[in-house]
């Protein structure tokens, strides 16, 4: 009996250690980036252009670039994803077609991010002739985040009780009226959560924009969607691998990393909070 109890104590300790390592990893990443990045950040860091070959000045173009790319990606991906999710949850019947569609969504989610970059390079940059630009990067990122938003939207639609649909149909509404007036409004917060998570993902991705949108150095802010941009994630990478003054570039990379991680975590936190609230409060 004692031996079995001892086994349990050891087993539980191992499980606790697993979780502790994961949490420790998270906090050590946050700790170093916050402590070393905070010293670099001031108002000028947000609002001024880089100077002296990236060794001084701020990161305004990278902040704006990431904003343009993430917003562009979500504008493209959100309508497509919601329409796809409506089909999957409202129209599709169990069968081969829906199996194939779902397999497509799952596999698209598993495609390595750098492969999306190659796709964007061949299709948007070259074939459509958009060049290395905001539009090429935003479309590439948009395709990358499709599965995330489709899944979240589908989950949100499926969570709307059947009785809502039945009540609406029983009152004589058509299927489309039912979806538009009874189902979609109730699913909106969930769909929004998915969209926010998608924005966070798009803002943090580097590999898809390497050859489609990002550049290390621009002297003026982009003026159209066909201009190339700096972006926060790419900026970190470039500061660490290019340039001639690593000693001056690494502190800027810390500052950039702190801004990127704060941005992404804030976005995720908003999404997670909305989701927990929906799950806790909504009792139809």
């Amino acid at each position: 009996m004692k031996k079995r109890k001892l086994k349990q104590i050891i087993g539980f300790s191992l499980l606790r250690i697993s979780v502790s390592i994961a949490i420790f990893a998270l906090f050590s990443i946050l700790y170093f980036i916050v402590v070393r990045g905070a010293g670099v950040i001031n108002l000028e860091f947000f609002t001024s252009m880089p100077r002296e070959g990236m060794t001084e000045g701020g990161i305004l173009p990278a902040i704006l670039g990431t904003f343009y790319l993430a917003i562009g990606a979500i504008l493209f991906a959100l309508p497509l994803s919601v329409f796809a999710a409506i089909y999957l949850s409202e129209y599709a019947r169990q069968g081969r077609l829906i199996r194939v569609i779902r397999l497509g969504v799952n596999n698209l989610a598993g495609v390595p991010s750098v492969v999306f970059g190659l796709f964007g390079l061949a299709v948007f940059v070259k074939f459509f002739g958009f060049g290395v630009s905001i539009i090429s990067g935003a479309l590439t990122l948009g395709i990358l985040i499709l599965p995330t938003i489709i899944r979240a939207s589908e989950e949100a639609l499926l969570a709307v009780p059947r009785s809502f649909r039945e009540a609406s149909l029983a009152l004589g509404a058509t299927k489309w009226q039912t979806i538009r007036r009874a189902v979609l409004p109730s699913a909106t917060p969930g769909i929004l959560t998915g969209a926010i998570l998608g924005v966070g993902r798009a803002a943090g991705e580097t590999a898809p924009i390497l050859f489609t949108a990002a550049t290390f150095f621009i002297t003026r802010l982009p003026s159209s969607i066909f201009d190339e941009v700096q972006a926060l994630p790419y900026h970190i990478y470039a500061l660490m691998t290019e340039g001639t003054h690593p000693d001056l570039q690494v502190p800027i990379a810390y500052g950039t990393a702190l801004i990127l991680i704060s941005l992404v975590l804030l976005i995720n936190l908003v999404a997670i909070t909305i989701r927990y609230r929906i799950r806790k409060e909504k009792r139809w």
């Binding site: 349990q8 994961a22 170093f32 089909y87 990478y237």
Partner: protein
Amino acid sequence: MTKEIFIKRFFLFFALLSIFFLAGIVFVLFKEGISLFTRVNIIDFLFGKSWYPTHTPAEFGILPLILGSLLVTAGALVVAVPLGIGSAIYVSEIAKPGIRDVIKPLLEILAGVPSVVYGFFGMVIFAPFIQNLFNLPTGLTAFTASVILGIMALPTIASIAEDAISSVPVSFKEASLSLGATKWETIVRVIVPSAMSGISTAIILGMGRAIGETMTVLMVAGGSAIIPHTFFQPVRAMTATIAAEMGETVVGSMHYQSLFAIAIVLFMLTLTFNIIADFISQKFKKKMTGGL
């Protein structure tokens, strides 16, 4: 009535877009990459030991890159599988509700950290630490990349495994406990075996995540395109090769084609993982709904 049919078709069109994009990716990779094989034998490509795409004569053997990818992925799994599954069991079986409500969001945050930030952390903090610890000429090694990749894949594995574990019927647990088994015995002999297919799916998807990860291996693994002999030497993965070299290539050159050809190999690998994962979870769904 025709309007309703039109609306249904409208939505179907968008539902099919994912498949369309997936097919588009396959098409583009083959279109840009396949002509390499008119000049390089596919066997020499896959099993050639030297990757010198810019030398004259150029050599396009990607075996070192494949092995680099496999090595860091295997290393990442050694880290991520026990820790991820351990975390999943802890969260779903042991943690009190209050603690669970803290840990689950923290794991989601870990999953949300951008890969370039992991790479950056690896370069400036973890690699120097490893270099000093093992007294190595460089801290940018397969081992370093494995550990960082493992931490990245951990939340993926934990979240899917946790879904599987918490969907094990309570009656299984109650039956085991009422027979006098301890909580730990119930976890090891009843809960984990019942959730095994979900856990396998989690591992395979974590593997896909690790092998497809780009920025971390690009920044942390060191980047030597030689066949690795130990964990403590620099390696270059397939993803990192594409990311590092595409910028320097001339569109349509053999080097350009060879990078797309690498992407074909990479895509096939991740596609296989995903299909296996899908197959297992589908089978699992049938078993659970059919048997209970």
